[in-house]
Amino acid sequence: MEKKIRVLIAKPGLDGHDRGAKVIARALRDAGMEVIYTGLRQTPEMIATAALQEDVDFVGLSILSGAHTTIVPRVCQLLRQEGLDDVPVLVGGIIPDADIAALKQQGVAAVFQPGASMENIVRFIRENAARKVTRDE
């Protein structure tokens, strides 16, 4: 049987607006993935530890507060330190166009801005999971 794709969905920072994170978590689950939702107010350290312990294939961060410029680079750095270079990081939320290039430079695989569809996010994860399998073999 094919192994289920495992995704960590995390809400870093102080922001409590979790509507998006929850909707995405449910959409990924409905798409047949294994979703681990961290809950609110996770520090970058907690997120990296959870990614390692849960052996996830993807990390999704939901940030609406504008703190992404500080938080996301830190998460990417810690994931690398944990040896999780091959775990793509997805960022969703209120991310201005001007910040996308810098986030990608830090190692973010994709940024989903307001209005992004669940379908596109699911497709992105599936395609990249398939690519990862091919590469691993």
Partner: protein, 551 residues
């Protein structure tokens, strides 16, 4: 009941054939909340409808048509734009600008560290200082925020919840410093902790000690700050989190019931504190459904206050409310369309009889608004007030078959939810079970699915998509955090440390007992104890709340 049968007889949503075999669009005729809407409403939709019982004159029981006889002919709604960003000095400049442009009340937005009771130099505040609102860590910051703004000449609303008692104390201390009598100041602290557990999730302490703090402010306000609205019982955030209109209405009113119950249990007189309670609703896209929601709210609240709590003071029966257009409805795509959405939503709030209104700015799906964007938002309200003619008459849609039907349905739906929560043992028990949280999560997921499947169209997002030029957005200087941390460092070096420790110790002792904590918190803020120090003291006694996440 006649109403109930009517709801069940609603037609299927995808009606494609009207009487006489005429075709209709193959669209889903439902509200944004998923409520089916019929082709036509007639007197048959209002069996047994009674003008006196169901509507009444405005200003009279059951207040369906409005809480005042004259409504906007007497006084226009207060145009109150919620704002705050970066440092207190920068926000102060924005407030003075808005007042100079004809805004009639202030509304303070605080940043996330402040909302969570952390000082600007706390490690968890890194990257968050001044981003979503203004950073206030001590009385010194509050003084700077109101520099040159006489607090007896404006009314100030503060969107602060878990640490509301502390920020209110700072505001009261500013009034003292300006030499203004507390009897003369007016404004609102949001102070609605229940909706934080339900929706917005900016809580610090567990529900029960949090409720104690809220009731402490009720008691203190009634004695010393009689014109202050001690709470704004908020459906806004519940709706933003994904609730339907009826869920927003129901959970808000049931939260309100919970506060009144706690107040009465404290020994407060419902006739005295009842008139200081105010409510806060969302103004979403679905025009008629929203108007019906406000009308139903007035009706239910009046009945709750009079019949459930025995209030005899008619002012305690009035559902006075603030409305804000729906942030969640703003699109990042084609942002200028948001001006139109906001105008329609604002019109619904006005036709629903709001007492004050915030209109969102077109750029808020991207960032906090620029000055230009917020000016258009304010102008939108002024156009409604002065050009559209809707302020000339009270409840102009009263008597519409559709609107009256929707108002009755809203009322019935909300009452059913309230009964269910009563049966669970009240709102705190329901929150601990995750009940409202689950209901909201389900609604938001269903809505997102409807958007993905294009059963619901969002212009510019899933239909009528075009490329777009980026719009100018407000960027918050990353150095705000450093600046605020620097101020705190200097404050800690220059204040009387001994007095700070003494007042914090007294607060800790008070928190362990059951005295009203407001006087003790005031003592702390007057000697420049910081927000973080005060909240840490309370965390030490009350503990910190962590929710069990429900998906």
């Amino acid at each position: 009941m006649a109403e109930r049968d009517e709801v069940l007889e609603q037609p299927p949503a995808r009606e494609t054939e009207a009487p006489g075999g005429q075709r209709q669009r193959d669209a889903e005729f439902t509200t944004v909340s998923g409520r089916p809407i019929k082709r036509l409403y007639t007197p048959d939709d209002l069996p047994g409808f009674d003008y006196g019982r169901d509507l009444g004159e405005p200003g009279q029981w059951p207040f369906t048509r409005g809480i005042h006889a004259t409504m906007y002919r007497g006084k226009l709604w207060t145009m109150r734009q919620f704002s705050g960003f970066a440092t207190p000095e920068e926000s102060n400049r924005r407030y003075r600008y808005l007042l100079s442009q004809g805004q009639t009340g202030l509304s303070v937005a605080f940043d996330l560290p402040t909302l969570m009771g952390y000082d600007a130099d706390h490690p968890l505040a890194e990257g968050e200082v001044g981003k979503c609102g203004v950073a206030i860590s001590s009385l010194a910051d509050m003084e700077a925020l109101f520099e040159g703004i006489p607090v007896d000449r404006v009314t100030t609303s503060m969107t602060i919840n878990s640490p509301a008692a502390v920020l209110w104390a700072m505001y009261l201390a500013v009034a003292e410093k300006q030499g203004v009598d507390w009897q003369k100041i007016s404004g609102t602290t949001q102070n609605d902790i229940l909706k934080e557990y339900i929706a917005q999730k900016e809580y610090i302490f567990p529900p029960r000690p949090s409720m104690r703090l809220v009731i402490d402010t009720f008691e203190f306000g009634a004695r010393f700050v009689p014109r202050w609205n001690v709470i704004s019982i908020s459906g806004y955030h519940i709706r933003e989190a994904g609730a339907t209109a009826v869920q927003e209405l129901a959970f808000t009113l049931r939260d309100g019931i919970e506060y009144v119950e706690w107040g009465v249990r404290r020994g407060l007189d419902v006739d005295e504190f009842g008139p200081r309670l105010s409510l806060f609703f969302n103004a979403h896209n679905d025009f008629f459904e929203e108007i019906a929601k406000y009308r139903a709210a007035r009706k239910i609240w009046a009945r709750v206050m009079r019949d459930r709590f025995g209030a005899r003071n008619p002012r305690a029966w009035l559902c006075r409310f603030h409305a804000q257009t729906a942030g969640v409805s703003l699109t990042a795509q084609q942002p200028y369309n948001n001006v139109v959405r906001t105008a329609i939503q604002a019109l619904a709030a006005v036709l629903g009889g709001t007492q004050s209104l915030h209109t969102n700015s077109l750029d808020e799906a991207w960032a906090l608004p620029t000055e230009e964007a917020v000016t258009i938002a304010l102008r939108t309200q002024q156009i409604l007030a002065y050009e559209s003619g809707v302020a000339s008459t009270v409840d102009p849609l009263g008597g519409s078959y559709l609107l009256e039907r929707l108002t009755l349905d809203m009322e019935q739906g909300a009452v059913e939810y309230c009964d269910k929560i009563d049966a669970m043992g009240g709102m705190i028990a329901a929150i601990e079970k995750g009940y409202p949280q689950k209901e909201i999560a389900e609604s938001s997921y269903q809505f997102q699915r409807a958007v993905e499947e294009k059963r619901k169209i969002i212009v510019g997002v899933n239909e009528f998509i075009t490329g777009q030029e980026p719009i100018p957005v407000l960027a918050i200087d990353e150095r705000v955090g450093e600046a605020q941390a620097g101020k705190l460092k200097r404050l800690r070096e220059t204040r009387n440390q001994r007095r700070v420790s003494d007042t914090l110790r007294a607060l800790e002792r008070g928190a362990r007992g059951d005295d009203n904590l407001m006087p003790l918190i005031l003592d702390c803020v007057r000697v420049y104890a910081t927000l973080g120090e005060i909240c840490d003291t309370l965390r030490g006694v009350f503990g910190a709340y962590e929710e069990v996440s429900v998906l």
